[in-house]
């Protein structure tokens, strides 16, 4: 593009261009439409035309930092942009995009200029870099990794296997998480950036495929390496530094991946809304039955919760990098959970049609199979909860105590984390901290906002709702401080996990309230500034925690449903970004 656009317009234009490149989802003649996507899924293949279109669009550039010739500047925007791909085909989103993004992050964080340039070149040329972390025998416990890189002539010798690695069979490069020292310590692992095409044939097998029930098109594969030498400059970052890098840079993926997956929820909701508008039941349209409307409006509100939470944490990566070890884990825990529960409720509305792999609503069953797989991708919910658990007592002692006492410092960003269209400073991966050291400015913001709302009679419903979460935070605080020692370790039990679950809800509520509040000032004419969605969203979060928010008044729910149908008719996305869907012939 030669036109000089302001960044915001540029971003919207890029999202629109990507959506246009994919064409209308519902057009049966569109080679990238849902019909083609379903056919590829049935064959267990990644949609080849889709990969081609994304290559032509230059999607990989979205994962490469600007100074290396790419377009990656903002974590929140990447999440929003990728929703276009995830609305279309989760497998394409994971199989074409996300794997390379995940693998490249340690390179951007720790790589030498040469390593960064090589990976940048590979990606910009449409190549693939894959993240080789998983060993089935050890699951989420990276510290027990068995794949080794031992010192050898001129570098390292690789030995062992990795499983469930996307695209490993056809990637040019891979980042391996490898053991470089004996024993189970946290400094025993290193990243190695390996040119897969240069490995000696006969010592590598990477043609093993693991078929999965969701994202069936993804090429989840395995690699077995039998004593392969790699040069010394394969080492990525310091020897023994991989665990630390993982805990840093995966904060980015934990925030951004769920944001992308909001696109899957969008497609599900759209499909069921269409079904509800088509289907006659007992003499009227399903969409006119009050329970169906409640379900649809509720699922829409849940999508907006997911978007608000993921976007705020993604923005925090730029603005409050010291705290995102907490927020990112909470997003990766809660957003997939909300999306999967929505998926279930929507399937109940559809009944038998949710079970059928043909016909106008067939994309639903595909998304329902895809969601649990992406929910697991990159860190399952137990891992994320566990990493919250370890931080709870200190959060209570410091961040929450200050917040609840009204003594939390005013954030230096002036609340820009909630202002979704505001500019962001660059993302410094090195600035991400492994541990929030008890800081929690989101909680501080929530308490402050509640105090403001409580002083405005016009905001009584939202004041009451935010008040529930402030009270909840107070309860969590006492319980986090009282956690038994073992509940602060890997032996943590249900008490600690329950607290982590509830705390994630409080953070999501803080994000929702903050986004609404700031939109009122900066984007007063948008749906995000309408208190209706915030009201329904907070009501739902409170209901999930059993906080007894009372009956939801019909008015906000009707407004949310009206917004949903208006977007559907106008071809707008079901998120806070409210982009335009491709229409007309492809």
């Amino acid at each position: 593009m030669t036109v000089d656009l302001r960044p915001e317009q540029d971003h919207r234009a890029r999202a629109a261009r990507l959506e246009r490149a994919l064409g209308p989802a519902a057009d049966p003649a569109n080679p990238l439409g849902h019909r083609a996507v379903l056919a590829a899924d049935e064959r267990g293949e990644l949609l080849a035309d889709g990969e081609r279109a994304l290559r032509e669009f230059g999607l990989n550039a979205e994962f490469v930092p600007e100074h290396l010739g790419g377009r990656f500047t903002r974590a929140d925007r990447l999440g929003q942009l990728m929703r276009a791909v995830f609305r279309r085909d989760c497998a394409l989103g994971i199989g074409y995009g996300v794997t390379s993004f995940i693998a490249a992050l340690p390179v951007w964080a720790d790589g030498t200029p040469d390593q960064q340039a090589r990976v940048g070149r590979t990606l910009l040329a449409g190549g693939r870099v894959v993240a080789a972390y998983t060993e089935l025998d050890h699951g989420s416990d990276f510290s027990r990794t068995e794949f080794t890189a031992e010192p050898g002539p001129g570098g390292y010798v690789l030995d062992g296997g990795k499983q469930l690695v996307n695209n490993i069979s056809r990637a040019e490069m891979a980042v391996f998480f490898a053991r470089t020292a004996d024993g189970p310590g946290s400094r025993g692992h290193s990243h190695l950036l390996v040119d897969l095409t240069a490995l000696p044939a006969g010592r590598v097998r990477r043609d093993r495929r693991y078929p999965v029930s969701g994202v069936r098109g993804c090429l989840l594969g395995g690699i077995e390496i039998d004593g392969c030498p790699v040069p010394g400059d394969a080492l990525l970052g310091a020897e023994g530094g991989a665990m630390e890098t993982v805990l840093r840079v995966f904060q980015v993926t934990r925030a951004v991946l769920p944001s992308m997956v909001v696109g899957v929820g969008d497609t599900q909701l759209r499909t069921v809304l269409e079904f509800a508008r088509d289907r006659q039941l007992y003499g009227r349209r399903l969409a006119d039955l009050p329970s169906a409307r409640s379900t649809l409006a509720g699922c829409f509100a849940d999508l907006l919760i997911c978007d608000a939470f993921a976007s705020v944490v993604a923005r925090s990566l730029h603005l409050r990098p010291g705290e995102t070890s907490v927020g990112a884990a909470a997003v990766k825990y809660l957003v997939p959970k909300l999306l999967q529960e929505s998926s279930y409720r929507l399937s109940v509305q559809m009944g038998a049609r949710s079970y059928v792999r043909t016909g106008p609503y067939a994309i639903f069953q595909k998304t329902a199979r895809d969601l649990p797989v992406v929910a697991l991708a990159h860190a399952g919910s137990a891992v994320c909860q566990a990493s919250l658990v370890t931080q709870l007592p200190r959060l209570a002692e410091r961040g929450w105590r200050a917040a609840l006492a009204g003594e939390a410092p005013e954030p230096v960003d002036g609340g820009s984390v909630y202002d979704l269209d505001a500019p962001l400073p660059p993302l410094h991966l090195g600035g991400l901290e492994l541990n929030a050291r008890g800081a929690d400015s989101l909680a501080g913001d929530l308490v402050r906002l509640h105090t403001v709302l409580a002083g405005q009679p016009a905001s009584a419903p939202l004041a009451a709702l935010t008040g529930l979460f402030v009270t909840e935070l107070r309860g969590l605080s006492g319980r986090a401080l009282a956690l038994a020692p073992r509940d602060r370790t890997v032996l943590a039990g249900p008490r600690a996990f329950t607290l982590a679950d509830r705390y994630a809800h409080v953070l999501a509520a803080a994000a929702v309230a903050g986004v609404w509040w700031h939109a009122r000032r900066t984007a007063p004419d948008t749906p995000a500034a309408d208190p209706a969605w915030a009201c329904v969203a907070l009501h739902r979060l409170a209901g999930r925690l059993g906080l007894r928010p009372g009956p939801l008044p019909p008015e906000p729910q009707d407004r949310v449903f009206a917004d949903l149908t208006a977007r559907h008719e106008a071809g707008h996305t079901f998120d806070l970004f409210r982009g335009r869907l491709a229409s007309g012939p492809a």
Binding site: S213, R357, P372, A492, G493, P494, R495, P551
Partner: protein
Amino acid sequence: MSGATLTAPTGGWTPNALAAELEKALGDPGRIVRQSAALDRAERFPAGICRELDALGLPRWFVPVAHGGELRDSEDLAQLIRVLSRRDFTVALAHVKTYLGVVSVWLAGSDRQAAALAARVSAGEVVSLALTEQAHGSDLLAGDLSAQPLPSGGWRLDGEKWLINNATRAGMVCVLARTRPEGGARGFSLLLVDKAALTPGSWRALPAVPTHGVRGADISGIAFTGARVPAGALIGAEGEGLETILKGFQITRTLCSAMSLGMTDHAMRLALRFAGGHRLYGRTLAELPQAARALAESYVDMLAMEAVSLVGVRSIHALPAEQSVASAVVKYLVPSLGDQVLDALRGLLGARAMLVADHADGAFQKLDRDHRIVGIFDGSTAVNLNLLVNQFPALVRGYRAGHADEPGLAAAVTFAGPPPPLRPERLALYSRSGSSVVQSLPAAVAAVRGIAVPGSLVARCDRLLAVADEVHEALSAVRPSPRGVTEETFALARRYAVLYAAAAATHLFVAGHAARAADPLWRDGLWLDAVLARLLRRLTGEPDLDDEDGPAVDALLPVLRAQHDEGRLFSLFPCELAKEKP
């Protein structure tokens, strides 16, 4: 598999005796699991396994003893379905669906029809039930397929049925047809169609519909164009079709719960095996408290599912006039709880839960996909909740009057011998007396107080009584809305179903504890305490912030392990399983 056929067990009666007998006959479940996994991947019908089941004489169990078959009561079917479902659901579905096709004849057919059908079914004929149509989903009164009387006698069929189990394989199809153009509750009739007797060209099979789960199953349809069937095809009187179907549903919907029991049993076994072997942080997964809790909670939910299923199935015989309530509760609640159990176990298995070929032959993802259909077919969750909502006034009346059919109730919850005989004429579309199971909860709680059980259980029972009052208070406030049922009203119906389950479990314990005093599962009300703890959370929506339920739930872990290690069914009652070959 042995050459013998499955006949009624000869030893003393126990609730799971027939299940154990079929286990013995089928042997190592792994064989069927492996075959089915491959067939599911190839989307092929498990014809070979179904033939083996035919050879075992299973079809004779779809025919009541009175008509010359083996079927003594509904519990027989529940046990067979459970045992088949814990091996493979495609197989269970393919086989057992014949009972759905024939039950209308047992309920409403003539003696001649029944005798003829009994002979065909016993010989292995597949009979399909064709209700739903592409455009109308679960709205049966909107069906377009018509049967017009012919001047010569007999009927002319026109129209299509879609998404029908075994529609293509079946030799006979039980079709719900519009017999009055204006439709309505008396506008539909049931016809038993013998495909072989139709004029070629007057019907055709519709192509198989690819589905999310049960990929090898024959889910297809059938289309008629001027197909002529004889007058004798009519089941019951003209215009009685809907009534017969709805009464049949009260039996079959209740039996669907056994599918969930079987599949969750299989899932739990996969999860336990994995959790016992997978090492994390220097321990097995099963040793991590949070994972152990997920297992224990799932087990408790499975016991709750079983309790409500057992009482619901026995109620077909013991409380037939109230089965419109029990069947809706069971059909909604048990599959929904089953979905939640599978959710929890999926979380535990992680990536292995998604592997199609690699971990235990991809068994978990198959049963996970398969199970979703249980809440959908044969009356979806929405349909069953609507049925409950329609009966709210009777439920409130019955509760306030404290009405209970004492002998019927005692028979429904006491598992000391076979259930009373089925009296199909007592099945009613609407329960005038509400639900004795729920309405006699105060008596059951009083009985618990008289048994030496821990204080925690007594406290939970007291809480349950208070919640029962609240629920009925809320039910009484519901007014029919011209716009349709609201989400809040559906939520109440779900609560009522949970309350029913809690009441059923309490009755079951009271009636059975003395006989099972030596069983650690029953001693000190161990299982009831945990089941009520979990159900009360669902009823009240109150979070368990301080892990108050933890001790009761975790107390079941040793029993869970023992049942697993000793090769017994995950059940309130003993049942020895076939040995699994490693």
